[in-house]
Subunit: 248 residues, 2 copies
């Protein structure tokens, strides 16, 4: 997968360049370009903030201006806040991610403006479309955070992680129906013996309610065995001397 | 819309608390809770980092421990990196956002661990499910950035911004077909006069190619007029003295 290049136009703070690099590493991007950076370069704060993404910072290419930084690229999206006053296509980060994947045979890039002023209209006019991150009232997003959201959306668009799954340890598996039924029988037996399932005409409803709780918990086989062990411990000796002792 | 509460368990750095508050303001969340913060509180760095979200920092509630911070909440999701070794439901931030909206009649919360170690298994065991942000190889996400992605997903799940739109200035509107056809006729006339549409058997193909470019540009009415003005300027006097002067 051909990941987009991240281009920062005259960035001011090394911290933000480092945060951008870290976000890139989190989401599988690797090429960083700096057009006319306003901070000393190489930059210690950028390296510190990048944590384990130092290589992205060290290999960042520096260009004297934005035009040269974009020169060999084919598709460029400019990230900007609302209302530029120009007639420009404005897309969401999710739509940008969708297009970047569809265009992955091309040399693509995401462009970000500097901390103080963002991108100006001249810079935006060099790009195919503008990306605006949808926000609630407060629209100003930190440079590192804007890069993070764009990189996250790019990764998310190709990510196949299931929306929800139960994470199992190595010895865990789902119980078969038969194993689950044995748990049901164990619980229902002990609750009958203890007199909990009373009166008899309510028994079926109560049993179904208990089974529903167990289904909802989506137990592993190990957990069904743990519950049965708990029942054995709780009832141990309980009926000693009584008439209805289970193990008698 | 009942936004989730953001709960930070023993956070260490004021900067990250401020960044979390800023992310919350960006995406329409407002209630921040700190369980046993490890930094001085109130905290100047948190206020500085929050920028215009200072009120969220100032109104953050501080609790002596995590149990008390969660006490009145009904649904809590714990954000954690992969592989806890426990049998727990793990969901994506997008799935968490979907559930939070479906559960918005309840008191919901998103819980985040501290910078050094994240959430431990004891803390996770107090929550309904775990959220893991899908990442490429490098899975460690900064606390402020994890809060940002969760808040962004929550806002995104209810955001109705169209994926793509043309942003128009106040005087811009789409041209009617008739206005667009007038532009076609103007261009095709001038290119015929100038000899560009040659040879005759290629004319129709060339004309259709030019029209396709114009459709793709999705011009405003104002832009069609600008293009016509450019044609007038470019051809002005060009044919002076020639036989086929358009305006003769």
């Amino acid at each position: 997968m051909n990941a987009p290049v991240i281009v920062l136009s005259h960035p001011q703070l090394g911290e933000n360049i480092g945060a951008a690099a870290r976000a890139m590493a989190n989401f599988g991007l690797s090429e960083l370009r700096l057009a006319n950076p306003q901070c000393p370069w190489p930059n210690e704060r950028a390296l510190a903030m990048a944590v384990t993404a130092k290589d992205i910072v060290e290999e960042a290419k520096v260009y004297p201006n934005l035009r040269s930084a974009l020169g060999d690229l084919e598709i460029v999206y400019a990230t900007t806040a609302r209302d530029r006053g120009t007639t420009k296509e404005v897309i969401t980060p999710a739509e940008a991610a969708r297009r970047l994947h569809a265009q992955s045979g091309h040399r693509t890039a995401l462009l970000f403006g500097n901390e103080r002023a963002g991108l100006d209209n001249e810079e935006i006019s060099l790009c195919d479309a503008a990306i605006t991150i949808p926000t609630a009232g407060f629209a100003s997003i930190n440079l590192g955070q804007a890069v993070l959201i764009s990189c996250y959306e790019w990764y998310r668009a190709m990510d196949t992680t299931p929306p929800a799954k139960i994470e199992h340890g190595p010895v865990h598996r789902r119980p078969s129906r038969e194993e689950l039924f044995r748990l049901f029988e164990h619980i229902e037996h002990d609750l009958t013996e203890s007199g909990f399932l009373f009166p008899p005409n309510k028994r079926a409803v109560m049993v179904r309610g208990i089974r529903a709780m167990i289904h909802r918990a989506r137990l592993t086989y190990q957990e069904t065995q743990t519950l049965r062990g708990m029942l054995v411990a709780l009832t141990k000796g309980k009926y000693r001397g009584e008439k209805n002792v289970k193990d008698a």
